[in-house]
Amino acid sequence: MSDSIAIDLRNVTKRFGDVTAVDNISLQIRDGEFFSMLGPSGCGKTSTLRMIAGFEYPSLGQIYIHGREMGHIPPYQRPVNTVFQSYALFPHMTVEQNVAFGLQMKGVDKASIPGRVKEALEMVRLGSFGARRPRQMSGGQQQRVALARALVNHPEVLLLDEPLGALDQKLRKEMQLELKGLQERLGITFIFVTHDQEEALTMSDRIAVMSQGNILQVGSPTEIYERPICRFVADFIGETNFIDGTVREANGTHATLATEEGLHVQGYTPRPVQPGQSATISIRPEKARLLPVNGNSTPAANTMPVRVERVSYIGSDTRILVRAHGGRSLSVWEQNTLSTLDREAYWEAGDEAVLACPVDNALVLTE
């Protein structure tokens, strides 16, 4: 993976009438990266992708592709190709004609087209489907045709707009692996837009989490999950417990929060906070532990007495809903490492317990 920059967005804003779809974002995507833009619908991820493709032009700011400013260059002169959400295969052309279209438009030497088309179709394992029409193929096959049609042009960057959205769960998992494998083999930069966090976590080298036209955080899947820098990211990626409170002490990397009920919880601060500031503690349910009540122990940091409310056994783990004094509900997931039917080994509703969370697994977040 080289360190040169494939896509460079500088202060890009996109407005549609009164609506600001993308609000002054700056972003650099490296060559050969599998980069995902993740966010709920309407967060601006698709608009950003469409601006890179050239279907929309930025209201403000610049887009560079390999150092070249795109300005108002139309899509057909840009060195990128797109895999569309609903594939957008030309229904009046065969699969081969679809794949050949881009090469014909580029004015590629006619004699070399059939070979390249065949190669592209074999790459997506559709070598024998060239003469079919798109509508005679399954969703997964159409998806692969769309991929071949884009990749045959050797784009500098491949843009994918929720390409797996229309596939069923099982096929989607398969395609995720296939896409990732293809990207690693070809070394082309992929920019992948999705609202499915699991998809983004599985495939990406880096992820940009977007909301309301802004990029909230850019980082590796681990960074995004383990060290979200704000409440929205922690909430959007995975599941978490939030405990609101006021910062009591802060020392640069850690802070102590006082909750309404008078509890003190300590946690790691991805961004510096000031005493007196209101903040939220985020504790992932699988990072919290539930311990038996030990009569003589003094309340240590980051423990709180709770009562078990509901226990749901879901196979790989057990999800336990507990209620703290003061009425707050929290969830704790315990992995089922034991292999036993012995009910004694599990928690039951009504049990008294102590919830504990290591300081570094509790995050103090603002906003």
């Binding site: 493709a53 050239g54 279907f55 139309p74 899509p75 057909y76 002169q77 990128v80 190709n81 797109t82 569309f84 959400q85 609903s86 957008a88 295969l89 030309f90 229904p91 009046h92 279209f101 881009g102 438009m105 580029k106 049609r149 884009a150 042009n153 959205g165 229309a166 069923d168 769960q169 609202h195 499915d196 966090q197 699991e198 995975g238 599941e239």
Partner: protein, 288 residues
């Protein structure tokens, strides 16, 4: 959260059955009603076709089979001339209204301009306005302008096949626009984006992608314009000049005098032509 995000986007496409419970009284009633309506619609047509082959010279009774009336038809210069005139007008107005209507449809669906709502209204008016009002306003219009031209240049113009054609174009355009607009609306805009993404400029995108895909719509619009012109009676009656007879006008004139088996025969032929055109347009739609 992780589970919740894996929603599938399957949409039910199967038409649910309309069950009325175990009682089939409603179904029987509907079925009987349907049968009667179809009889009501088709018995007159069947009678017309049948009596174009009768030997009865009044054409209202069955007295034996004959092809005579068809033979006479084809040797009737006046009727044949009227038929040719009608075809000529229909072809000319179809070509013109299809071209103008397709351009208008493209403008309405693919460009933004401030007068859009006004143009939209103007385009719908010829469809909803009573045909007779359109016919007599065009009659007055041509008379008015022929007078002006005569006053200015001294040249005398008369109503002719040209005036009928101009009028037919005026009322066909809107119908073509409606049909072509529908196919443009159903056209997936992302296909154009995909073409641009693959390197096709606007011109190439139109001819390689958009045009082939809306062509059935354009042909559908043309067939509609052709049928409208062939079938039109009221505008033809008002706007054809003396000596330039059109088939529906000719038939009307004869029918007013008497029922004849010859009229039965020409009506049957007109019916067959309409059926063929409907069939063509339906085949076209199914292929989409």
């Amino acid at each position: 959260m992780i589970e919740a995000s894996s929603k599938t986007q399957a949409r039910p496409t199967v038409r649910p059955g309309f069950r009325l419970g175990t009682i089939s009284w409603g179904n029987w009633a509907l079925g009987t009603h349907a049968l009667l309506v179809y009889l009501f619609l088709y018995v007159p047509i069947a009678v017309l076709v049948l009596f174009s082959f009768t030997q009865d010279q009044f054409g209202t009774r069955w007295t034996g089979f004959t092809f005579d009336w068809y033979a006479r038809l084809f040797s009737n210069d006046r009727l044949m001339g009227a038929a040719l005139n009608t075809l000529y007008v229909a072809l000319a107005s179809t070509v013109a209204s299809t071209v103008l209507g397709t351009l208008l449809a493209m403008a309405m669906e693919r460009t933004r301009f401030r007068a859009r709502p006004a143009v939209d209204g103007l385009l719908y008016l010829p469809i909803v306005i009573p045909e007779i009002v359109m016919a007599l306003s065009l009659l007055a219009f041509f008379a008015f302008f022929f007078d002006i031209i005569e006053f200015v240049t001294g040249a005398t113009l008369r109503r002719s096949l040209t005036t009928v054609t101009l009028a037919h174009i005026a009322f066909s355009i809107s119908f073509v626009v409606v049909v072509v607009r529908t196919s443009l609306k159903n056209f997936d805009m992302r296909l154009e984006e995909a073409a641009a993404d693959l390197g096709a400029n606007g011109w190439k995108t139109f001819w390689r992608i958009t045009f082939p895909l809306i062509l059935p719509g354009i042909i559908g619009g043309a067939l509609l314009a052709f049928t409208l012109s062939l079938d039109d009676f009221i505008i033809s009656l008002f706007l054809s000049g003396p000596g330039t007879s059109l088939l529906p006008v000719e038939v009307y004139g004869r029918v007013k005098r008497a029922i004849t088996p010859e009229i039965n025969a020409i009506s049957t032929l007109m019916l067959m032509l309409s059926m063929t055109l409907v069939f063509l347009s339906q085949v076209l739609q199914r292929r989409r």
